[in-house]
C-alpha cells in the first residue's frame, strides 16, 4: 500500500511517498497513524498531534476511525488551505 504525505507532514517525515506494510492488527487510519508514529523520530514528530492530521483513502477524505483494508493509497496531510 502506498502512503502519501503532504505539506508539513511530508517535511517532518522527509519523504513524499513510500510503500508501507502495516501488520493486520492495524485496521483504521487512526491506528495506522499510531503505527507510523513508532517508525522513528521523524514520524513521531509528524504524528505528535494526530487530531490535526487529515486522512484520505484512495483519494477520498476519510475519518480516523475509517478502515483502510484493500486501499491502494492512503494519505496524511494538514488541514487544507486552497482556494
Amino acid at each position: 500500500m502506498k502512503a502519501l504525505y503532504f505539506a508539513w507532514v511530508r517535511e517532518r517525515i522527509g519523504v513524499a511517498e513510500e510503500e508501507i506494510e502495516p501488520p493486520a492488527a492495524v485496521a483504521t487510519l487512526g491506528e495506522l497513524m499510531g503505527w507510523l508514529a513508532g517508525r522513528g523520530e521523524n514520524y513521531a514528530h509528524a504524528f505528535e498531534n494526530p487530531a490535526v492530521i487529515r486522512t484520505a483513502v484512495d483519494r477520498l477524505h476519510a475519518k480516523h476511525d475509517a478502515p483502510f483494508a484493500g486501499a491502494r493509497e492512503v494519505a496524511f496531510f494538514p488541514p487544507m488551505t486552497g482556494g
Binding site: 484520505a56 477524505h61 494519505a75 487544507m80 488551505t81 486552497g82 482556494g83
Partner: protein
C-alpha cells in the same frame, strides 16, 4: 457537466466565460470568482501551492457535482493553480452560468467555500528575505469553517 483543471499555468478569465456562453441564448447570468495572491506586508516573493494530484481534481469535481445538484446551472468551470504564484497573480477561478442570477451567485459562493476547506491544496509563503528561514505554511482560517456552515 462541470469542467475542472488543476494546473501551474495561468488562465484567461474572458476565454473561460466565453466557453460557457458562446453560441447559447439560455444563459442569463455568469458569475466569476478570481482569487489572487495578496502581499499585504510587501515581503512576499511567492506563494507556493502544493497539491495532491488526482485527489485535487476529484474533490473539486465532487464539489461541482454538489453545486449542480443544488442549483440549476448551465455551466460550471473551476481552475486551481499550483506551484509558485507571485503577488498579484491568479490562484483560482470559479465560473458559474445559469438562467438566473441567484443560482449563479450562490453556486460560485458555495464552490469557493468548499474548495477552501475540502480541496487538497496547501499554501506557504516564501519571503523575499531569505534570512526569514523556511517558508511558513499558511494556517487555515476559522472564518473559512464558519463560511462552510452557511451551506449546511
Amino acid at each position: 457537466m462541470a469542467s475542472v483543471s488543476v494546473q501551474s499555468r495561468d488562465y484567461d478569465t474572458a476565454a473561460e466565460i466565453a466557453a460557457l456562453t458562446a453560441g447559447r441564448t439560455d444563459v442569463g447570468a455568469v458569475v466569476t470568482f478570481s482569487g489572487l495572491c495578496r502581499d499585504d506586508g510587501g515581503t512576499l516573493e511567492a506563494l507556493e501551492i502544493e497539491h495532491y494530484p488526482g485527489m485535487a481534481e476529484g474533490e473539486i469535481a465532487r464539489v461541482c457535482a454538489e453545486a449542480e445538484a443544488r442549483w440549476p446551472l448551465q455551466g460550471c468551470r473551476v481552475i486551481h493553480r499550483h506551484g509558485a504564484i507571485p503577488p498579484g497573480a491568479n490562484i483560482v477561478l470559479v465560473v458559474t452560468a445559469s438562467a438566473h442570477r441567484a443560482a449563479a451567485f450562490a453556486a460560485a459562493d458555495f464552490l469557493m467555500d468548499y474548495l477552501k476547506s475540502e480541496a487538497p491544496f496547501w499554501k506557504r509563503n516564501r519571503r523575499r528575505d531569505a534570512a526569514a528561514g523556511q517558508p511558513e505554511w499558511v494556517a487555515p482560517k476559522a472564518d473559512d469553517a464558519d463560511a462552510l456552515d452557511r451551506w449546511r
